[in-house]
């Protein structure tokens, strides 16, 4: 529609401050994010969750390996707020310890996938030509590798460890990220503002970090918020294959898959871990959406 020559006035908060250094994109994004109540509540919740996870050894009401075989599975009560599992272990304690593993897996593995994927994708997309072809063929080859076989091989060769778990998850999740980012960058690379940046004499690194990545952020953030839950669930599958955490240690994924087995007799064993996961994922998605909008100056500011 009509674009008047005089653009609408900006709110004084954004225009008043003089920022002589750094990128105003991130500063403006933070100002906008702070106004998004849902995203801020989610952020507070996630920070609280991390703090609880860190302090679990001191906060947890019971020890994670303490069994009460005589008690067995019991419904929520004054002693055991969220009930106990079939071996009489306190569910709240197990969920709290599980949070440590799941958040760690979720954040670290996703960060690994994000880091490799974004760099790989931007490099391939920006350089193009033969480099792009070789890099993306490698991605195709890794895609074609059956994941289960890859994991079993890893366990056979290296044994089971948490580090290996990150490696295995990171090794698959970055592939999709790389493809998404490459597609974005291919579209952006032909834009005139990239040519303008080259004309100014900017280095490739500056072009990638200052011009390409910020403009590809929307899909990257959305895909990241989708990756975290899939990684958390992937962990339970890997634990099942013997890579990752083994009982009595727990994770959200393994608690849920245990809960599914006894769903009809002891529903709370499924409900509480499931609820924890669901709320955490909601928070992640709200925060992700908030970040995506905050980082796009074109989204209306009110």
């Amino acid at each position: 529609m009509a674009q008047p020559e005089t653009a609408p006035e900006r709110s004084p908060e954004l225009s008043g401050q003089a920022l002589e250094s750094g990128s105003s994109l991130w500063h403006d994004a933070f100002v906008r994010l702070r106004r998004n109540r849902l995203a801020m509540m989610s952020l507070v919740f996630l920070v609280a969750l991390v703090l609880v996870a860190l302090a679990t050894p001191w906060l947890a009401p019971y020890s994670y390996e303490e069994q009460d075989l005589a008690l067995g599975a019991s419904a929520p009560s004054a002693e055991h707020w969220l009930g106990t599992d079939t071996l009489g272990r306190d569910l709240l304690t197990r969920i709290m310890y599980g949070t440590r593993v799941s958040l760690m897996v979720g954040f670290i593995a996703t960060a690994v996938a994000l880091g490799i994927g974004v760099l790989w994708g931007t490099t391939a997309g920006f350089l193009g030509g033969r480099v792009d072809m070789v890099m993306m063929r490698l991605v195709d080859v890794l895609y074609a590798l059956p994941f289960a076989i890859f994991v079993v091989l890893l366990t056979v060769i290296f044994g089971s460890s948490l580090l290996l778990l990150f490696l295995a998850i990171g090794a698959v999740e970055w592939l999709t990220m790389a493809r998404i980012v490459r597609g974005q960058v291919l579209g952006l690379r032909r834009q005139e503002f990239i040519e303008a940046a080259i004309s100014l004499g900017l280095s490739r690194w500056s072009i990638i970090t200052r011009h390409l990545i910020p403009n590809a952020l929307g899909p990257i953030i959305v895909y990241t918020t989708l990756t975290i839950p899939s990684v958390i669930l992937l962990e339970s599958f890997l634990s099942f294959l013997g890579l990752g955490v083994q009982a009595p240690q727990s994770s959200w994924g393994s608690l849920i898959s245990d809960g599914v087995d006894t769903m009809e007799e002891y529903p709370w064993l499924l409900i509480f871990p499931g609820l924890t996961l669901a709320v955490a994922l909601f928070a992640l998605n709200f925060l992700g959406d908030g970040l995506r909008d905050a980082l796009d100056p074109r989204v209306s500011k009110d």
Binding site: M1, A2, E192, A197, I198, S199, L200, G201, R298
Partner: protein
């Protein structure tokens, strides 16, 4: 009796930012067999006024607030969607701006023609096909019987627009609404399509509403002109009257914005060339093969072009799309690699520079791009956009950065207070000013401007041209000005070079080329300019 009469039509868009009065009390009427031209800039409501009659605007947010529209005795605004569908395409047809997007790329054009015919008339498939072939012949497509089974991409832009016209006319409508039908086309092709519409209109005694931003194009075609601004009709009348005695200041502004005058010579130019291009050859190799791609062919965009631009001179590089003029500009900018030839800037060879040296040397030559919506990083404020080149080349430090940027803003006529805004908060003309400021930030000696005003409205275009002219004089800049618009080139440039199919066919002093073109292609180009000859002050 008028075929179409519209009275006090108001169409508003109810958006979150408030009500936009896209059409605000517009009245007009078209007699049978008449051509009505509606002229206005983007956002003037000229398209919305016509689309809303046929229920073609998104509602909501759009809403027809008031007014009457009568087509052959039918009250258009009271019709249901179903009743409208029987009129749309059958009695009132449309031709849109972009023939690339308004044809379905996955359907043979014959099938698309047959479909639109059989939508409205009971015709069997075979007869419909014959009718389709006839209508293709009518719009001047040769060997229509063979071409009918081709896909849209197998036609050139001009041919596609002919197909669109055939499709609009196959149902034998009484009224044709053409919305900027030639804007996306090259000048010579534009002239052909305009002739075609004129000819068919006369032969069929068709009634036409012709919407355009280009007063010159409309003037040669219309019996009656409507000038629109901000949703209102500011002036109406026959073309002669509009050109000879424009009443409204906006109409006068539009007429003045048509660059008709030639550039007056600016002092004497030194004879030393600043830019010297020697036998530059740029081709794009075409690769085939998945794992071991081989070069199978190459597209030669620039075939051994030599030209030079003197210090302080503006050289206009003219040509149609695909002539290689943009590639030549980008080759000079070293944005694409050339296979052979050399580019010398002030006695230094740019072609010999290595990567690091090139980055430093880029300070001396900058580019202004066509599309101000694409040439600014949408996630950087104007401040950051301008700070980047200043800091990169050490032209400012943290201390005087703000001062330098204010200076640049003043230079291009932007409000200092808007440095914290993002590109989307500016209008097209303001954005182009930002892009110009970015190019000027490094204090270059040469500017390559690639169609810098062709994406802008005519009145804004005139402002930006004057700004460029003022800046080149103030800063002693040399410019290579790439454009398809000969009138603009004549207004701005000291010399012209005409490019066609990768080669320079003619170059010389602007006035010499315009008054005595040597090459037949240059003559074709000059003939294709829609002439406005109603004896206005500026044309004499």
């Amino acid at each position: 009796m008028a075929l179409l009469s519209v009275e006090h039509l108001s169409v508003h868009f109810h958006t979150r930012e408030g009500v936009v009065r896209a059409v605000d009390g517009v009245s007009f009427s078209v007699e049978p067999g008449e051509v009505l031209g509606i002229v206005g800039e983007s956002g003037s409501g000229k398209s919305v006024a016509c689309y809303s009659l046929l229920g073609l605007i998104p509602m909501p947010p759009g809403r027809i607030e008031s007014g009457r529209a009568e087509f052959d005795g039918i009250d258009l605004l009271s019709l249901s969607e179903k009743q409208l569908r029987r009129i749309r395409g059958r009695r009132i047809s449309m031709v849109f701006q972009d023939p690339m997007t308004s044809l379905n790329p996955y359907m043979r054009i014959g099938d698309q023609l047959v479909e639109s015919l059989r939508q409205h008339h009971r015709v069997d498939k075979k007869a419909a096909r014959e009718r389709a072939i006839l209508s293709l012949e009518e719009v001047g497509i040769r060997e229509a019987r063979q071409r009918i089974d081709n896909y849209p991409h197998e036609f050139s832009g001009g041919m596609r627009q002919r197909v669109m016209v055939a499709m609009a006319l196959i149902t034998e409508p009484e009224l044709l609404i053409a919305d900027e039908p030639t804007t996306a086309l090259d000048v010579t092709v534009q002239a052909q399509i305009l002739d075609l519409i004129k000819e068919i209109q006369r032969r069929r005694n068709l009634t036409v509403v012709f919407i355009s931003h280009d007063l010159g194009v409309v003037a040669g075609l219309a019996d009656h002109i409507l000038v629109m601004k901000s949703g209102q009709v500011v002036e109406a009348g026959p073309p002669k009257q509009i050109f000879r005695a424009p009443q409204h200041p906006y109409t006068r502004q539009l007429i003045e914005a048509i660059p008709t005058s030639a550039k007056s010579a600016v002092g004497t130019l030194e004879d030393t060339p600043l830019l010297d291009v020697r036998e530059l050859y740029t081709a794009f190799p075409v690769y085939r093969g998945m794992f071991f791609p081989r070069e199978v062919s190459r597209v030669e965009a620039v075939k051994s072009v030599s030209l030079s631009v003197r210090k302080g001179e503006i050289l206009g590089l003219v040509g149609e799309s695909g002539s290689g003029k943009s590639t030549l500009g980008r080759s000079i900018m070293r944005l694409v690699d050339s296979q052979s030839g050399e580019v010398w800037l002030d006695g230094k060879s740019l072609s010999a520079l290595r990567k690091g040296e090139l980055k430093r040397a880029r300070r001396d030559f900058q580019m202004i791009f066509q599309d101000p919506y694409a040439s600014l990083n949408p996630r950087m404020t104007v401040f950051d956009t301008l700070a980047e080149p200043l800091l990169l080349h050490g032209l400012a430090e943290r201390g005087n950065l703000r001062e330098e940027i204010n200076q640049l803003m003043d230079d291009v006529g932007l409000d200092r207070r808007s440095v914290r805004k993002y590109p989307h908060e500016f209008s097209g003309g303001q954005r182009q000013r930002v892009a110009i400021a970015r190019a000027l930030a490094v204090r270059p000696r040469l500017i390559v401007a690639d169609e810098p005003v062709s994406a802008l409205d005519v009145t804004i275009q005139a402002q930006i041209l004057d700004l460029l002219l003022a800046l080149t004089q103030r800063h002693g800049l040399t410019m290579l000005f790439i454009s398809h618009d000969l009138a603009v080139v004549r207004y701005l440039c000291d010399r012209v070079a005409v490019m066609r199919q990768g080669e320079l066919v003619e170059q010389g002093e602007t006035e010499a080329v315009f008054s005595h073109p040597q090459h037949p292609y240059t003559r074709d180009l000059l003939d294709a300019i829609p002439s406005v000859d109603f004896g206005t002050e500026s044309a004499q």
